[in-house]
């Protein structure tokens, strides 16, 4: 299918990133109800969902080229954003295979994959038309690629990726490509167990959410991927909101005014999927980031009202953990004008095909 790529939009500096009308309508809005609380909100990732963003295994949208460029900039500045512990090479090849097969199957206009045979030692030819790449290599031989397989392929896919080694009834974050994270450090977390890397998340530990989530994840099966949504907010459409560069983007939190908050404050939604990998038995954890400004979101009337209600009832500990405290009252005040108090149906769908006029 054809995608109108916007290759030159930026996620730093002049921040020219914007969503087209179509991109707004397919946004993975995360709130089905007027109040938000943590839950084990996992469901099968099986080809359908509340918007087009959920349909493909790994979603490619109009921001694809621009996001790949932004990743390359981040990696140039900080190569430690991509790491894989030595025992993860089998999982790296599993990941490369899954991504190349899925993309070439779902977007044949943009990606193509040819294999000379099955198994390690076969010659693969990979074509990535949007990025203008053609690569011939031996599956299983990292020396035939410009860099290790995990880095090679994740440089060509939107969103962050973590690979968890599964051992001892536990998951360990033993590899990652992390350039669009909501404020966690790969270099600090690499090698941590499931409970360790979730250490700082408030409230959910007491509710037993993580114990149940871990048991569920350990049983994720080959061919049966699952997904969930996570969310936070970001000032400016900035992908690299890492703790490493916090001195760069942190001051933006204090730069909001009632005049600019509509276009500067973004809802940041992570579509997280989970895939069992066949040879390594590891768990691939893609974290796909979607950004939309308040002004873009309120053009879907249901979303503007719901967002107002969720933010105005958010528990303070959650607001603190998500870094929203400084500007939350201003955001709530801004959104109030779009909320007429009408009762809304449960569910996240836009419930409209046409957007309201821009503010």
């Amino acid at each position: 299918m054809s995608i109108a790529f916007k290759p030159d939009e930026t996620f730093r500096g002049d921040y020219t990133y914007r969503n087209s009308d179509a991109a707004i309508l397919r946004f993975p809005f995360p709130f089905p109800e007027d109040r938000y609380m943590y839950s084990v909100n996992m469901e099968p990732h099986n080809g359908s969902g509340p918007s087009d963003a959920f349909v493909h295994a790994f979603d490619v949208d109009e921001h694809y080229i621009a996001e790949c460029r932004d990743r390359a900039i981040t990696l140039e500045r900080d190569p430690g954003r991509c790491q894989a512990l030595p025992h993860m090479m089998m999982a790296q090849w599993d990941t490369l295979e899954l991504l190349m097969e899925s993309l070439s199957h779902d977007y044949p206009e943009h990606f193509a994959l040819h294999k000379s045979g099955e198994g390690f030692g076969a010659t693969w030819t990979w074509t990535n038309r949007p990025l203008g790449l053609e690569q011939r290599f031996t599956f299983g031989d990292a020396a035939t690629l410009p860099c290790e397989p995990f880095e090679y392929i994740t440089r060509q896919v939107q969103g962050d990726f973590a690979i968890c080694d599964q051992r001892d009834n536990n998951l360990f974050l033993d590899a990652g490509m992390v350039t669009s994270q909501a404020d966690w450090s790969l270099d600090f977390n690499v090698g941590m167990s499931f409970m360790e890397w979730h250490g700082p998340v408030p409230l959910a530990h007491q509710a037993g959410v993580f114990e149940r989530a871990l048991k569920y994840l350990l049983m994720v099966r080959l061919g049966q991927p699952v997904r969930r949504l996570n969310w936070t907010m970001t000032v400016n459409p900035r992908l690299d909101t890492s703790p490493e560069t916090y001195p760069e983007w942190g001051p933006d939190r204090a730069s909001l005014t009632p005049e600019n908050i509509g276009r500067k404050l973004h809802l940041r939604v992570e579509l997280q999927t989970l895939w069992r990998l066949p040879r390594s038995n590891a768990l691939l954890f893609p974290i796909r980031c979607y950004l939309a400004s308040l002004d873009e979101l309120v053009r879907v009337p249901k979303w503007g009202k719901r967002l107002h209600r969720v933010l105005s009832t958010l528990p303070p500990q959650l607001a603190e953990y998500k870094g929203l405290t400084r500007y939350l009252p201003m955001a709530v005040a801004y959104l109030a004008q779009y909320d007429d108090g009408e009762a809304l149906p449960v569910g996240t769908t836009a419930d409209t095909d046409a957007l309201a006029e821009p503010a």
Partner: protein, 192 residues
């Protein structure tokens, strides 16, 4: 001093050292300056039963009433000492007691020697001082006893958090005044 409980699950919680009966060889590694008289007595009581298969190494001068101790001049002497004691087996156990920066430095050496985490017991004694990892420059600041500290690598003032990385053996430090430069909370001595 005892370590305060933390909401953060990555923060290690320590138990008193206790030799494992099924293990075939035991090494006890101590930071001398961290052990008071009570700690020494407790160690002798716990480890006397495995004395025939036990070696005790102390970084800094220490005597234990009832167990022979090999004294090492400094932490740098540990790596060659471990190398000589190897190659290690699955049935070996290592027990380490001291400040957190010390015990996690030893844990890193043990991991490099191939010992699994289950083969290494860690216990805290002495000062609560912390090794802090700077999220921004990835450098380490040693001997931190305060709630915020200037980073030894980049100079930014870091809030010392309870989020802990076993691989780095350090607590996370994050710039405390990025959003409002210069506005910093009062420095408090919290890890004496």
């Amino acid at each position: 001093m005892t370590i305060a409980a933390s909401d953060i699950k990555s923060r290690p919680v320590y138990q008193p050292l206790s030799p494992e009966a099924a293990a075939t060889r035991h090494w006890l590694v101590l930071e001398a300056a961290a052990q008071d008289a009570d700690a020494c007595r407790a160690l002798v009581q716990a480890f006397a039963p495995v004395q025939p298969a036990l070696q005790v190494w102390s970084v800094g001068p220490l005597t234990l009433d009832g167990l022979p101790v090999a004294v090492l001049a400094d932490t740098a002497a540990l790596a060659p000492q471990l190398a000589q004691a190897g190659p290690f087996r699955v049935s070996d156990r290592l027990y380490v007691q001291g400040t957190e920066p010390f015990i996690w430095s030893v844990a890193a050496l043990a991991a490099a020697a191939g010992l699994a985490a289950e083969q290494v017991q860690l216990a805290h004694a002495g000062s609560l001082r912390r090794r802090v990892w700077c999220t921004h420059c990835h450098g380490f600041t040693e001997g931190v006893t305060t709630s915020t500290v200037p980073c030894a690598g980049c100079g930014r003032h870091l809030l010392v958090r309870d989020h802990f990385s076993r691989r780095h053996g350090a607590f996370m430090g994050v710039m405390v005044d990025a959003e409002a430069p210069g506005q910093r909370p009062a420095v408090q001595e919290v890890f004496p």
